[in-house]
């Protein structure tokens, strides 16, 4: 699983956010995208995820495969119960037989994310942190090997951040890779972490 | 010559039609030309500003 980015150039209006951006992300690597507000972090992530087209340059994949995307918005419906939301995530994650597709795996995911017992409640009544945790369940319900996460730790409390970092470390250990932005200090260390500073 | 403009009694209709057509076609030329000048002026301002901030 290798991702090559070559000569990437994105603009917003007449302002060029970044140009000639190039990097390679190998399996098991984490790319931390840093930069102050408005430096184009979200635009870069959206371009890498395929949501947005770059003005120039290429995002080359070894072969086509699904990713897990988490934007600023949580991607959960307030009118569906937590379990129904998870079931939708499972269906949307596509036809990979690695994970059991049934309610039990949804309930175990809820427990793992510290939302046990909230299965039948509506996210409308959840706190921001709980909503973010529900959104992060997406990471466990898909076997995609690339995670593209835009400030995943937003609204999470200390325990939530530790839980997320544990998930991330586990994912990287299993050969998955991730690209994320974060204003919090990421507690992971190691050679497999690259940093990319966007200085627009 | 007057008979030509009289258009067999249909002068109003014929000349109005040609007149409106001429106006619309003219607009399709005048507007772009104005926009052209305006875009060039904005480009000049942009590059002048760009030039000054670079030094």
């Amino acid at each position: 699983m290798r991702l090559d980015v070559v000569g990437l150039h994105c603009t917003r209006g007449y302002r060029s956010l970044f140009s000639e951006l190039a990097f390679t992300l190998e399996a098991g690597q984490l790319l931390l995208v840093e930069g102050h507000n408005g430096s184009g972090k979200t635009t870069l992530l959206k371009t890498l995820a395929g949501l947005r087209e770059p003005d120039a340059g290429q995002v080359l994949w070894e072969q086509q495969q699904p990713i897990v995307w988490l934007g600023h918005s949580n991607g959960i419906k307030d009118d569906l119960t937590a379990l129904e939301n998870l079931q939708m995530m499972q269906v949307m994650a596509g036809a990979d037989s690695l994970l059991r597709r049934d309610a039990k795996s949804c309930i175990s995911t809820l427990e793992r994310m510290g939302l046990a017992g909230n299965g039948h409640r509506f996210p409308r009544h959840f706190s921001a942190g709980m909503k973010r945790r529900l959104a992060l369940c997406r990471l466990l319900l898909s076997s995609a090997c690339l995670w593209i996460l835009d400030e995943p730790q937003a609204a999470l409390d200390k325990a939530g951040i530790q839980l997320f970092e544990a998930l991330l470390a586990e994912h990287l250990a299993q050969g998955g890779s991730a690209i994320m932005t974060s204003h919090h200090h990421v507690g992971l260390q190691g050679s497999h972490i690259q940093r990319l500073l966007l200085a627009a | 010559m007057a008979e030509f403009f009289h258009m067999g009694g249909y002068a109003l209709y014929v000349w109005t039609s040609f007149g409106i057509a001429a106006v619309v076609l003219l607009l399709n030329i005048v507007l772009p030309l104005q926009q052209h000048r305006e875009v060039l002026r904005r480009a000049a301002d942009f590059h002048e500003l760009e030039g000054r901030t670079k030094q």
């Binding site: 995307w69 | 480009a43 000049a44 590059h47």
Partner: protein, 265 residues
Amino acid sequence: MNSNASHVNSVAMKNPGFFTRWFHRMASPVWFYQISGKLLPWLWVLFAVLLVTGLYGGLVTAPADYQQGDSFRIIYVHVPAAWMSMFVYMVMAVSGAIALIWRMKLAEMVMVSCAPIGAGFTFIALVTGSLWGKPMWGAWWVWDARLTAELILLFLYLGVIGLYSAIEDKRMASRAVAILALVGIVNIPIIHYSVEWWNTLHQGATVTKFDKPSIHIDMLIPLLLMAGAFKVFFAISLLLRTRNELLERELPRQWVKQLVEEKDG
């Protein structure tokens, strides 16, 4: 456009044949700007020639129609404009398709520039159609199949213009307009036939005189000349508008900077 999370992996050009090189060179903005600059004067000359001969033929030499008298001369504006309103929509839809499939910026700009011109021609066709109908049927508006279809076409154009101006990001706006133009081009024949059917149904079998009367040769020549003049005019206005769109989008680029300096220097 596969549906799953496809990434932008543009095809590497291994050994581009002449056509592909020309096709992509044609897309380079500077090249287009210079070429259109050189072409425009010639187009103006051609337009003037066609227009003068067409008008002279239509208004002076062509014999008056035995039934409609001189009011039939409105045909020399109405019919070319109606033809152009359809032709421009087709050019818009084709360039929209090119823009969507090959992501060619130039095609996007051509498509976007077509809309106002097409709307102009449709408006001319409508107004001259109603002015032509007044002396013959005594009514400013006749629910004739052709005129009604032309009116709906005008709304399609206004929809395209409205959509383009509503979205700020020009690249996204062009993508949206390309989709709308393609949806429109699929619907236009359906609209035309259903209006045609609706008209013959309600009005019974009165054959409206709007289709070209069995046209005499020296009535036909000026009509073709005027149609040619309108096509050349379309090319002129299209080039002018596309150049503006080009400058608008490439404003921060270096070649625009030199262009501006040449103009002031």
